[in-house]
């Protein structure tokens, strides 16, 4: 019989290559360009955050009084702000805040949300009911208003911003984990684990948790994007981080008044940096879904 398309691929499979990082990346990029671009953007900003001190041409907080509000030039690529500080250096330094807030906030949210979701889903009953009602109630409020209110009420420090964002984010993880646990609670494999005499915590963490990880990972990226956005918004409103700290939201706040007088560079550049990092995280979170979509893998 004539060789069919199938036979051709079968030979390809027979010559299976060993695992390599390069192939993994190319493979992911072909299935999901979205995910791959997200990874690249996040890595670029991560690099910026870690090596900020090498990359910054000027000190981000030292003012040049004679160079106030200078437009972009060879000396100051993104111009200078109202205090005569170098906007380019400040934008680079700002990446530190982006990650410095998002990473601990998401870790905190996972640390709270995952156990809560596990227990609520597994135990069910009143506890579950009360928690879900509480989360529903929280949803009535726009997250920014909630974050703003709590930060304003509990004191304005960077640590507080992280704590508040972490807490406000935890219901998302609780929900993801809970729904996964609910669907598995009475499955054969949990029943047999129970029958084998496993203690409850073991069933929760060893048997149920791994199944919830995929959903939680996609959420982690999206929630990190949210944390970066909200922390910048708080700073823009003058809550939490204050100028002249080189944080993007605070920088946009400084640039706001100059926007209508023509010194656009003060506010525009930190905004673009903020958009890119949040965009990268969103691309990553959204792209993870592609890996689970068989249609995207189809070869024709």
């Amino acid at each position: 019989m004539a060789e069919t398309v199938g036979d051709e691929f079968k030979r390809d499979r027979a010559a299976a290559r060993p695992f390599s990082l390069k192939n993994r990346f190319i493979g992911i990029a072909r299935v999901s360009p979205t995910l791959a671009s997200g990874v690249i953007i996040i890595l670029a900003f991560g690099f910026m955050a870690v090596f900020a001190h090498w990359l910054m041409p000027h000190d981000p907080v030292s003012a040049y009084p004679e160079r106030v509000l200078k437009p972009p030039s060879a000396e100051h690529w993104f111009g200078t702000d109202g205090n005569g500080m170098d906007v380019f250096s400040r934008v680079i330094y700002g990446a530190k805040f982006g990650f410095g807030i998002a990473i601990p906030a998401v870790i905190l949210a996972v640390a709270i949300g995952v156990p809560v979701g596990l227990v609520a889903g597994y135990r069910g009953g009143l506890l579950d009911e009360v928690l879900m009602r509480f989360f529903d109630g929280l949803r009535v409020f726009p997250s920014i208003i909630l974050a703003l209110a709590v930060v304003a009420a509990t004191g304005q420090s960077l640590l507080n911003v992280v704590l508040v964002l972490g807490f406000l984010d935890s219901p998302v993880f609780a929900r993801v984990v809970r729904s996964e646990v609910l669907s598995l609670r009475s499955s054969v494999f949990v029943e047999s684990a129970k029958a084998a005499g496993n203690p409850t915590w073991r069933i929760l963490f060893i048997h149920l948790l791994p199944n919830a990880i995929q959903g939680a990972t996609a959420q982690a990226a999206v929630r990190a994007a949210w944390a970066v956005r909200i922390s910048a918004t708080l700073a823009f409103l003058g809550v939490g981080i204050q100028a002249p700290t080189p944080e993007w939201g605070a920088m946009i706040r400084q640039g706001a008044e100059f926007m209508v007088t023509g010194q656009w560079w003060v506010g525009i550049f930190p905004g673009i940096a903020l958009i890119f990092l949040v965009f990268g995280l969103n691309l990553f979170g959204d792209g993870l879904q592609d890996l689970m979509d068989p249609r995207r893998r189809a070869v024709n």
């Binding site: 910048a232 926007m259 905004g271 959204d286």
Partner: protein
């Protein structure tokens, strides 16, 4: 369902505001106040009573329509809120309305050809929409359309300073101007609406695109749609079936979206000095005006209850499965 939610929300915010650090006494008294003066202010504000009693008093007042007095504006909170509510609802209405009109068709079209070119582009754009800070977008728009091109009025307020606002009927200059035939005011109010509305529309369209696409895709792979295809119904009929079956979840989503967008709207109001409820709320929170914060929160909760009610009514009209029809 709605009543316990409202009571719960009032209670939680009340506690948060009292137990948390939003303490107006220090600010009211000023830095040089003595301990007696502090006590006097506390007594005046009713803060020396036990918490449960404070809540009971507040709750009783709320039921009677007395939300207390704002120390920022020195006016009854209810008056402040009433004056501003319609201003914000107008902005929200146009913004979300246009956002929905843009977002739903795009999401649907993307879903009908998943992974096609249109889908890829709309996906990237919607993710970008998720990532743009609202306030920054507002500022950039002001820079481009006011400063550079001079097409738009400056971002202060809802009507030009040169134009006297029309008589107060609804609170919306646009509608009041139309009702009183003040065409100059109508024109100026409309011009002031354009930029904030575009901002809100862009930001609200992004999640609507994404969610509509997801909903339609799910309906497309539902048993009903697959059976329709298996019975050889023409593609147009299948599409109609998918559209109709997507309607309920899309309407529900837009409903939840509206309440969530109040935050975005507040930021837009802040940037454009809109003077509505959102700006009032932000101000109250940042400045620690706690009677105003409570009133604001209550309004938000009430607002979401109303939105959910409207969503329920619409869903009831679409769905044969509901009990009401």
């Amino acid at each position: 369902m709605a009543i316990p939610l409202l009571v719960g929300i009032v209670f939680v915010t009340f506690m948060l505001v009292r137990v948390g650090g939003l303490d107006p006494v220090g600010r009211l008294a000023g830095p040089t106040a003595t301990a007696e003066e502090f006590e006097m202010i506390r007594a005046e504000l009713g803060l020396d009573e036990p918490l449960w009693k404070q809540f009971a008093i507040y709750g009783g007042n709320v039921v009677r329509g007395d939300l207390g007095e704002s120390w920022l504006s020195n006016r009854p909170v209810l008056t402040d809120l009433k004056e501003r509510a319609f201003i914000s609802i107008e902005l929200l209405f146009w913004g979300v309305g246009i956002g929905t009109l843009i977002g739903v068709p795009i999401g649907l079209r993307a879903a009908f050809r998943p992974n096609g070119r249109f889908d890829q582009i709309s996906r990237v754009l919607s993710l970008l929409g998720f990532s743009i800070p609202t306030y920054w977008l507002g500022l950039v728009m002001l820079f481009v359309f006011f400063y550079l091109l001079q097409w738009a009025p400056p971002g202060i307020g809802r009507i030009s300073l040169m134009v006297s606002p029309p008589d107060h009927i609804t609170g919306s200059y646009l509608i009041d101007g139309l009702l009183t035939a003040r065409w100059g005011a109508v024109q100026s109010a409309a011009a002031h609406l354009v930029l904030p509305v575009i901002c809100l529309a862009i930001v609200s369209a992004a999640p609507i695109i994404k969610q509509t696409r997801a909903i339609a895709l799910e309906v497309l792979s539902s048993d009903a749609a697959r059976y329709a295809r298996a019975s050889g119904l023409p593609p147009k009929t299948v599409r109609r079936l998918v559209l109709r079956n997507s309607a309920t979840p899309v309407v529900t989503f837009v409903g939840t979206e509206i309440t969530g967008l109040v935050g975005t709207m507040s930021l837009i109001e802040y940037v454009f000095a809109w003077g509505g409820l959102g700006q009032y709320g932000l101000n109250a929170i940042v400045r620690g005006d706690f009677t105003a914060v409570q009133g604001y929160v209550l309004t938000l909760a009430l607002f979401s209850v109303i939105v959910f009610l409207i969503v329920d009514i619409i869903v009831n009209l679409i769905e044969p499965r509901s009990e009401l029809t």
